[in-house]
């Protein structure tokens, strides 16, 4: 039984976001070991993945669909620059539309349908009440620019990376739930440029190796990796643009409220070659789970404690955990007494 989308919950102000028991069970817990360190943890994203898991389909549509789409709309209304596509990325945007509509209509036929009559396509999104007929490849036939049109119908942020000179460039995207990075700032940057602020990994040669791997990804052989950080409250939009709204939340963590305030934020990142444009689609699907929900799984609770305990200082600083890391560690210890 798949998770049906729930009525809209919020990722701001009153934070009504919750995870059902099923959503907790399928949460992509990101730590395979007690100690966390960077690695090129990229693996084939073989589809379909295990039934019901977040890896089952290329685009994971879950109980938070309506909530995340409402949140995205709100972010774009406040700041339209959170979505952009440079002129030369138009075809890549259509590649993304093809990939999203084709797979979503196959994977969730009750929610999405796609009918093709040559270049004339009819797309119906029953969850959002959208039905449009358009000419594939002709951006004038869509009610919105292609990146925004499709981006507002998939959960997770999407970046489309142009590939040239053996490098990748951030030339299009819709980024409304980033873990403290900005599309407007990174636009047009190369792979090593937008990873500039990451500590330790450059020296380890990780980005060089990752880039060689990513530029060689063939069509229809997507790969994935998990990334993580911590977020205070169930806030999707932790962008530099809105820092004044959430930066001070880090001061609000107390020993009494750790369990409900601190969320593990996991990104399922998928890289998929776009056939017509040779661009690389980089989808970043974000999952949030409160510490209270996370510790319902004793194995996760124990491991979370050990990972936090051994996390290098540079990463505590880079991920913005400094203020509340000691409080979190103290609280997690109760689930891992022998350590």
């Amino acid at each position: 039984m798949r998770l049906a989308p729930k009525p809209v919950q919020t990722f701001r102000d009153d934070f009504t976001y919750t995870n059902s028991d099923e959503a907790i069970k399928r949460f992509p817990f990101p730590f395979p070991e007690d100690e966390y360190m960077y690695s090129v943890n990229i693996e084939p994203h073989t589809l379909p993945g295990p039934e019901g898991s977040v890896y089952e389909h290329l685009f994971d549509i879950d109980e938070h669909y309506l909530s995340e789409m409402a949140e995205r709309k709100q972010v774009l209304a406040e700041n339209p620059k959170r979505c952009l596509a440079m002129d030369h990325m138009d075809l890549a945007c259509w590649d993304f539309i093809d990939r999203a509509m084709t797979t979503m209509s196959q994977d969730y036929p009750n929610y999405f349908t796609l009918e093709k009559d040559g270049e004339h396509w009819t797309w119906e999104n029953k969850l959002l009440g959208i039905k449009d007929t358009f000419t594939f490849g002709d951006s004038r036939t869509l009610p919105q620019p292609p990146m925004e049109y499709m981006g507002c119908q998939v959960q997770g942020d999407i970046a489309l990376l142009d590939q040239r000179d053996n490098d990748l460039f951030m030339d299009a995207g819709i980024i409304t739930c980033p873990a403290d990075w900005s599309l407007a700032f990174d636009a047009g940057m190369s792979f090593s440029q937008w990873h500039g602020p990451v500590p330790l990994a450059h020296e380890a040669g990780i980005f060089e190796r990752a880039l060689k791997y990513l530029t060689a990804i063939p069509v229809d052989q997507p790969v994935r990796r998990l990334n993580w950080t911590l977020t205070i409250n169930a806030r999707m939009d932790t962008s530099p643009e809105t820092y004044p709204n959430w930066g001070t939340d880090r001061d609000s963590v107390t020993p009494e409220n750790v369990g409900e305030k601190v969320y593990l934020r996991v990104e399922l990142q998928v890289l998929d070659r776009m056939p017509r444009s040779n661009a690389l689609m980089f989808s970043i699907r974000t999952y949030l789970i409160s510490m209270n929900d996370l510790v319902t799984n004793p194995e996760w609770a124990k491991r979370m404690h050990r990972v936090m305990k051994t996390l290098p200082e540079e990463l505590i600083e880079y991920k913005g955990l400094t203020r509340y890391h000691p409080i979190l560690l103290d609280w997690l210890k109760q689930f891992d007494l022998e350590n």
Binding site: H88, D162, A216, P218, V219, P275, R276, S277, N278
Partner: protein
């Protein structure tokens, strides 16, 4: 490594005295659309060995009903072009890899200028339909020898008219490359596909006249050149492999069931890079930096060979 696809050879036609065009259609399912400049690797089961050659796709990238490639019968064929010309017939089945692209146009260019030499016309055949759809500014300089090559001249003339400039060496018509480059507006990108001498001429002229390297793109013919035979000793698998003069190290490894990831088989993509423990390397690839080459610690087995009689590899 890319998953193999089975294809039908649905048509073969001669498009120039030494060039045959092959139309490939899917055995089951559908082909992917591809991006302009993509190539596929065709796997040929010859009597004594498996041959794998990369060929540019020359059909319209938006047409996923078929892929087309053109193969020139090489005077010093290593088996691949001979096989395609003599052994492959309409109705046969072949195995190919899905398309991959190492020669994509830079769509930010203000203008695109193509230099094609002989069968090097093929990647531009896939560029042009997309250039036309986007209304891009481009011109094509096509050099050939009409007694051997010069495929698609009429079709191209019909398609792009005055943007086609042809040079037939039989009539002593030659491209004034320096002159063409001098007349390119700022923001032009150059694309070269053809023999090494053509690539070298354009790149050298570009260096002399201050072209940014990022505005000059080229794709050499992929066939690895022969060299002296040598022996490869493999530490991890414990195998000792003889590499004859007309076989690449990658081919010799594959023939001995040592699988190495690879895509372009022409020293460009970097996938087959393998660590070297001992022995002198003759680097012939475009991938490694000068520093990596002089370090003598890694080799691209698809094109590079040993200078010494033995090479000790950490694979």
């Amino acid at each position: 490594m890319s998953a193999a696809m089975k294809v039908h050879v649905s048509a073969i036609r001669k498009v120039a005295p030494t060039i045959k065009e092959f139309t490939l259609t899917p055995v089951d399912g559908e082909f992917f659309p591809f991006s302009p400049g993509s190539h596929i690797v065709v796997e040929m089961q010859a009597d004594s060995k498996t041959i794998r050659n990369a060929y540019s796709l020359l059909s319209d990238p938006m047409d996923n009903r078929q892929y087309r490639i053109a193969v020139r019968l090489q005077p010093e064929s290593r088996g691949g072009s001979d096989f395609m010309h003599q052994e492959v017939h309409e109705g046969d089945e072949l195995t190919i890899t899905p398309p991959n692209n190492l020669f994509s146009p830079d769509w930010r260019a203000k203008k695109h200028v193509f230099f094609a030499g002989g069968v090097g016309i093929t990647p531009f055949m896939s560029y042009i339909p997309e250039m036309l759809r986007r209304g891009a500014d481009f011109e094509l300089h096509y050099m050939y020898r009409s007694t051997q090559t010069g495929a698609y001249v009429e079709a191209l003339r019909n398609l792009i008219g005055e943007r086609l400039h042809t040079y037939d060496s039989i009539t002593s018509s030659r491209a004034e490359i320096a002159d063409i480059m001098a007349h390119c507006p700022q923001g032009t990108h150059l694309y070269i596909c053809g023999p090494e001498s053509l690539i070298d001429t354009v790149r050298y002229r570009g260096q002399q006249t201050g072209w940014p390297a990022s505005h000059i793109h080229y794709e050499a013919f992929a066939a690895p050149k022969p060299g002296k035979p040598f022996v490869a000793e493999l530490k991890k698998s414990g195998k000792t492999i003889y590499v004859p003069e007309d076989q690449s190290l990658l081919e010799a490894l594959e023939a001995n069931e040592v699988e190495i990831p690879n895509l372009c088989r022409g020293g460009v993509c970097g996938q087959c890079m393998s660590p070297v423990l001992d022995g002198d390397i003759e680097h012939r690839d475009e991938f490694l930096s000068e520093k990596e080459k002089s370090g003598n610690r890694c080799i691209m087995p698809c094109v590079s060979r040993a200078k010494s009689s033995r090479l000790h590899l950490d694979i």
